[in-house]
Symmetry: C2
Subunit: 201 residues, 2 copies
């Protein structure tokens, strides 16, 4: 069998395969898409974007979100409520919550959740930074917006325990039917939570 | 809504979204995977691989496959059968056929298939290069290994028409059940082709 793939092509296929959810087959397809030239500047654009990504980003020293300026735009925004703190797992969670336009306080990004299975403990997350930040702050409420997963729940319980005598009001996001959700197709755990959390009409 | 995504992050998300099959959501996920640093060298490796991809590859002037040396390894391989020519749509088809170890002749890559719907005609493919190459060559048989799709079939019929008085034996890949294929789950067109192409046991 001849080595029919040039080294540089094989190299890109290998590197793309290291991305999560990209197998060798889709890596090949992406590589040949880049070679075929239906989007001639894409390979170069991607190369540049990747090169500047890490150079120009850092963690905000206050909220730990990814930012180009430190402190970040949210932390320096004087218009935002300084008494409300929303704790999330990942920077993308901040994006999702901002998109809802339902929160105008500050954020704290943990960069993960406690997961004994994956060997991720509290010290691997930005939890000490959170404790230090809350100490002596103006915050009156901390909304724990971790995922509705085992890891997210574990992290929430851990935070509640660590901050139980901080004087903060500690809340969690509501559980229930997603908007547009069909009862027939809702899993029993979600339905159970929706019933528990029912409110007056 | 604060612009919570740094420009360089948004830029990479936009560029990744230009890849086929990658939507804005998976582009975000890939970007944050690269930022998170579970594979710290990946962003840089990808940037380099992308940058060298186009610089170091070209089309082989004989078979039109993608190569780093011109003519390519297959075209310069004296061990391969010079009388057998296999015509394929894409470079990845060469890889697949080489993997079968069932073909030891030469290749010709068309870089696509005729598709009136997408506005791709014979002149957009490497068909003139194929005709020029066959003229005066040692080839005795041309195996048309285009895809078993409408476009692949159209391309095959077009090639057969153009080369009908070339004196070449023109063949196509067999149609039938894939190995391991279950009759119960095989579509009726494939089953029809498998019956037509039946052979003596």
């Amino acid at each position: 069998m001849a080595n029919v793939l040039p080294k540089s092509v094989q190299r890109l296929i290998n590197d793309l395969s290291r991305l999560p959810g990209v197998g060798p087959k889709s890596a090949s397809r992406l590589t040949f898409y880049l070679l075929r030239g239906s989007d001639p500047t894409l390979a170069t654009d991607l190369a540049e974007s990747l090169a500047i990504l890490k150079e120009s980003t850092q963690y905000c020293s206050i909220c730990q979100n990814i930012t180009e300026q430190n402190p970040c735009e949210v932390c320096t925004d004087e218009e935002r409520n300084k008494t409300l703190l929303c704790v999330v797992e990942e920077p993308l969670d901040v994006v999702a919550i901002e998109r809802s336009r339902a929160f105008l306080g500050k954020y704290h990004v943990l960069h993960g959740a406690i997961s004994p299975v994956e060997g991720i403990g509290p010290d691997d997350l930005k939890i000490n930074e959170l404790i230090d930040r809350i100490d002596g702050s103006e915050f009156t409420e901390m909304i724990i917006a971790t995922n509705a997963t085992l890891e997210g729940d574990t992290t929430a319980r851990y935070l509640q325990m660590r901050l139980s005598d901080s004087g903060l009001r500690i809340t969690r996001l509501a559980r229930g039917l997603p908007v547009g959700g069909d009862i027939e197709y809702t899993d029993e755990v979600t339905l159970g939570r929706a019933l528990e959390g029912r409110s007056e009409l």
